[in-house]
Symmetry: C2
Subunit: 125 residues, 2 copies
DNA sequence: GGATTATTCAACCATCTGGTTGATCTTTCT
DNA sequence: AGAAAGATCAACCAGATGGTTGAATAATCC
């Protein structure tokens, strides 16, 4: 019964979910170059304007973009803080991937860790 | 018609999706301490063993864990490479979040960038 | 005022998601 | 051999997701 479900966890849920779609990631890349109105964001994609509008909403709900209304146009800009939150979570694992151990090394290492930590089912059969 | 959909894109889709669930993130944290059999992974959570088994499959399909079969137990270990791929994607934005600019600074900056970069559809018709 | 532009909202649809239960399979214990 | 343990598979379900179309709203152009 761990299941903390802090608001920070919920936030990470929505941020990672927003990032799990290539269309939305491409939009963020585009916004890194500067503000874009939604129509401009839609232009490169082979889907309806409405579909793009929905993607923008997902990004907005995740806090990844800000929307400024300028006349009849909605202008979007990048809001990078949630990306930092996601990166903070990921960087916990930096030591694992930076050690360039291959699958076997990793297996060995993990086995050692398991033996030290749990001690339980060290050997079987 | 951008829509590259390289296999690397597909990979990021599945990795970010796998990370978008707090239960799965907790499992990865647990595996960072060493190998665990699926039953051990299931123990902290208030859900059926089968539900946990499905989560493990999602992580496995995303390449985030390896599974080794040991007698009747399936032993999981962390496979950190896809986490690095996700981090690589995220770090592109490091300059944005590290500059601690607030929303207004960012707006200003993005506007300048937009003026310099696009120029294209500044006005049409 | 009327047309056009930029966008949202609402309804619909197929598929995916995260959970459940029940049956099955293999391995280990006694 | 039979029971228990560890896990998968299959079917089912409610709700979310990603797309569509059509209608409505608000701002700008003529």
């Amino acid at each position: 019964m761990v299941q903390g479900h802090t608001s920070r966890e919920l936030r990470l849920d929505t941020v990672f979910h927003a990032l799990s779609d290539a269309t939305r990631r491409a939009m963020l890349r585009r916004l890194a170059a500067g503000e874009r109105k939604i129509g401009d964001l839609a232009e490169p994609f082979d889907m309806s304007f409405n579909a793009v509008s929905k993607h923008v909403k997902v990004l907005e709900d995740a806090g990844l973009i800000l929307r400024r209304i300028d006349g009849r146009a909605h202008v979007c800009s990048l809001a990078p803080q949630p990306l930092k939150a996601a990166d903070d979570w990921l960087r916990f694992y930096e030591s694992f991937w930076s050690q360039s151990f291959d699958a076997l090394d990793q297996l060995f290492r993990a086995q050692n860790e398991a033996a030290r930590n749990s001690g339980i089912k060290g050997k079987r059969k």
